[in-house]
């Protein structure tokens, strides 16, 4: 155990500081072609014409691909879990977000690739786009997704991720006050300094070596193999040197098209997004709409919570159902609430598809829960630390999905924050601990939720 507690120098520090670290864009393969994408200029439109003939005959062009060249056009990010796919690798009849790729060109230089993209003949019939999750439920909006307003495949055929725990009716009957709030964090771009980039090199033995900045190497490998309908053993992924990801490099954004272009041209192909593409077309953290209604007592116990979450998936589902599932497990934050009624929907809009970012699904709910805790404290006229310490998870308490906490740190964290901010806690609260609930910390309403199994 030489490493634990030791201050070891980073193994990659010297490479970074001397500029020797080879990122994907620094890998050189002889004869590399550059890829450029034709992307949708519309948020939502029908593609009425797509003709790449002129582009194919442009100088320096070695391959052009559209939806027609993808062996398995639709493969979802959760397909490996048996969940149906909804997103075409390249848009076919319709574009559902601005920047959606429609065709890709590989050419000798970036300029030639860009010129060829400009020469692709494409026409659109624009439709009215939808940008706000809440508005998706209004009667008069046009639904951008063929599945309708929301993702319909939770537990195979449910339209929501739902949690029911205890008796929400009783909690609301017993409450002294009902306190509600709506929380709407906006989308955030992960913005790694290295933009999305991939280099796919066709090898003489028929395999492809794929240098990728992905954060999810084996996942990407499965996605490429599925779209291309080739066995996994024909793909050799080289990853590990990521110029920042923060969740934004979980989706397989570049590897499949690069490899298709490499296959078609017989040449290595590099696709490096411009910063503009990164901002406009790369997946972001989702915007969320969260409504919380709490049943509380005058002395600061939260008896029950009703919560509605609308998660903006953007135009396609990608990992959103997973994000909402994680979100649902955390919808009480670091606090124990025995009676719960939670509905979380993955809603489709015409925004760029959303994905992971630092605490996928959880940061949104933490923001909502902590904001709401402060609101409850204010409306009850209770010290916000005391409200939190009362309801904070203890050993043996159970999470919304029924997992017993074995070592929750909420009480200790609150003590540390209190100390760091110079806050005086009343003696009883200063003496609170993470140990199993007993005495004043164990009111009747919390008895039933406690896990029977002896945890420590």
């Amino acid at each position: 155990m030489k490493a634990v507690g030791a201050r070891l120098p980073r193994y990659d520090g010297v490479g970074h500081a001397t500029g020797r670290t080879a990122f994907v864009d620094d890998i050189r393969a002889h004869g590399t072609l550059w890829a450029k994408a034709l992307r949708s200029p519309h948020d939502y439109a029908t593609i009425t014409r797509l003709d790449t003939t002129a582009a194919e005959n442009m100088p320096g062009v070695r391959a052009v691909i559209t939806h027609a060249d993808v062996p398995l056009l639709e493969y979802g990010h959760l397909s490996a879990l048996g969940i149906p796919a909804d997103e075409p690798l390249l848009a076919k009849d319709e574009v559902r977000y601005k920047g959606q790729p429609i065709a890709l060109v590989a050419a000798e230089t970036t300029e030639q690739a860009a010129d060829a993209v400009a020469a692709i003949e494409v026409d659109f019939a624009p439709k009215t786009p939808l940008f706000d999750v809440r508005k998706a439920f209004d009667a008069d909006v046009s639904q951008p997704h063929h599945w309708g307003t929301v993702y319909p495949h939770f537990e195979e055929s449910m339209d929501r991720r739902q949690i029911r725990k205890g008796s929400i009716e009783k909690a609301f009957d017993d409450a002294d006050k009902i306190i509600s709030g709506v929380y709407r964090p906006a989308a955030i771009e992960q913005m790694p300094i290295e933009t999305q980039v991939c280099l796919s090199v066709p090898e003489p033995d028929g395999r492809f070596t794929i240098y990728s900045c992905t954060q999810a190497l084996y996942f990407s490998m499965g996605v490429v193999a599925a779209h291309m309908q080739i066995p996994l053993n024909r793909l050799k992924f080289v990853g590990g040197t990521v110029g920042g990801g923060f969740g934004g490099k979980v989706d397989t954004a570049t590897e499949t098209v690069c490899t298709l272009l490499a296959q078609r041209s017989g040449r290595p192909v590099k696709w490096r997004w411009t910063r503009e593409e990164e901002f406009l077309c790369s997946s972001t953290r989702a915007p969320w709409h969260m409504e919380i209604i709490d049943a509380v007592t005058d002395d600061g116990w939260i008896l029950g919570r009703k919560m509605l979450t609308l998660h903006d998936a953007g135009a396609y589902a990608r990992f959103s159902p997973y994000g909402v599932t994680k979100h649902s497990f955390h919808h009480t934050g670091a606090y124990t609430i025995p009676n719960l009624h939670f509905d979380g929907y993955v809603v489709f809009t015409n925004r760029v598809p959303t994905t992971a970012m630092r605490g996928y699904g959880v940061t949104s709910v933490s923001f909502a829960v902590e904001s709401h805790m402060s609101r409850v404290a204010e409306e009850l006229g209770i010290d916000p630390f005391e409200l939190r310490l009362k309801n904070a998870n203890r050993i043996g308490d159970t999470s919304p999905n029924g997992i017993a906490y074995t070592d929750p740190s909420t009480v200790d964290v609150l003590h540390a924050i209190s100390e760091a901010t110079g806050n005086e806690l009343a003696p009883g609260y200063a003496a609170a601990s993470r140990q199993r609930r007993a005495g004043e910390w164990l009111p009747d309403h919390l008895l039933a939720q406690i896990s029977d199994t002896e945890v420590h």
Partner: protein, 166 residues
């Protein structure tokens, strides 16, 4: 066109308005300067031109004609790190490392010009450089300490920003 690149003569044949960054990476194969935005906004491409830090993505090749261009490859090698490079390693001032070459160049230029090493000055000197990973504190620590020269490179520095609770 000709430049002196990290001390050696280099012939440049790209069209005259090609960004120097493109010349370095695609024509001359010098890869430490990174294309983070190609728009002047991130600082990852920064190189020294006649000793002053400049964004290589905004500099036309022709504007560098006859100049001395230094990239981080020219500051030190893995075997013989420059003081700033040593400090970056010792203070863990690089996480993903993509911004690091530009940061090291700007920090070197700042110290070479006799910067006092105050945090305000360092922040100003690195203002054009975006780092998405580190949160900057360790980068500023490294630059402030770089003039001290030698560090025990077998360990990482204690961070003054981490309060370890008993």
């Amino acid at each position: 066109m000709k430049i002196t690149l990290n001390g050696a003569d280099a012939q440049v044949d790209s069209p005259p308005l090609t960004p120097l960054l493109h010349v370095l990476r695609e024509e001359l194969g010098v890869l430490s300067a990174k294309a983070g935005c190609e728009n002047g906004g991130c600082g990852a491409c920064t190189v020294l031109i006649d000793g002053s830090p400049r964004r290589a993505c905004l500099t036309a090749a022709i504007a560098a004609d006859g100049s001395e261009v230094t990239t981080v490859e020219g500051l030190g090698t893995p075997e013989a790190l420059s003081p700033v490079q040593k400090a970056f390693v010792h203070f863990c001032a690089a996480q993903c490392g993509f911004c690091t070459p530009g940061m090291v160049i700007a920090a070197t230029a700042y110290l070479d010009k006799g910067g006092s090493g105050s945090r305000e000055e360092i922040t100003e000197a690195l203002a054009g450089h975006v780092c998405r990973c580190t949160g900057y504190l360790k980068i500023v620590d490294a630059v402030a300490a770089a003039r001290e020269g030698d560090f025990d490179m077998s360990v990482a520095a204690e961070s003054p920003h981490t309060q370890v609770r008993a």
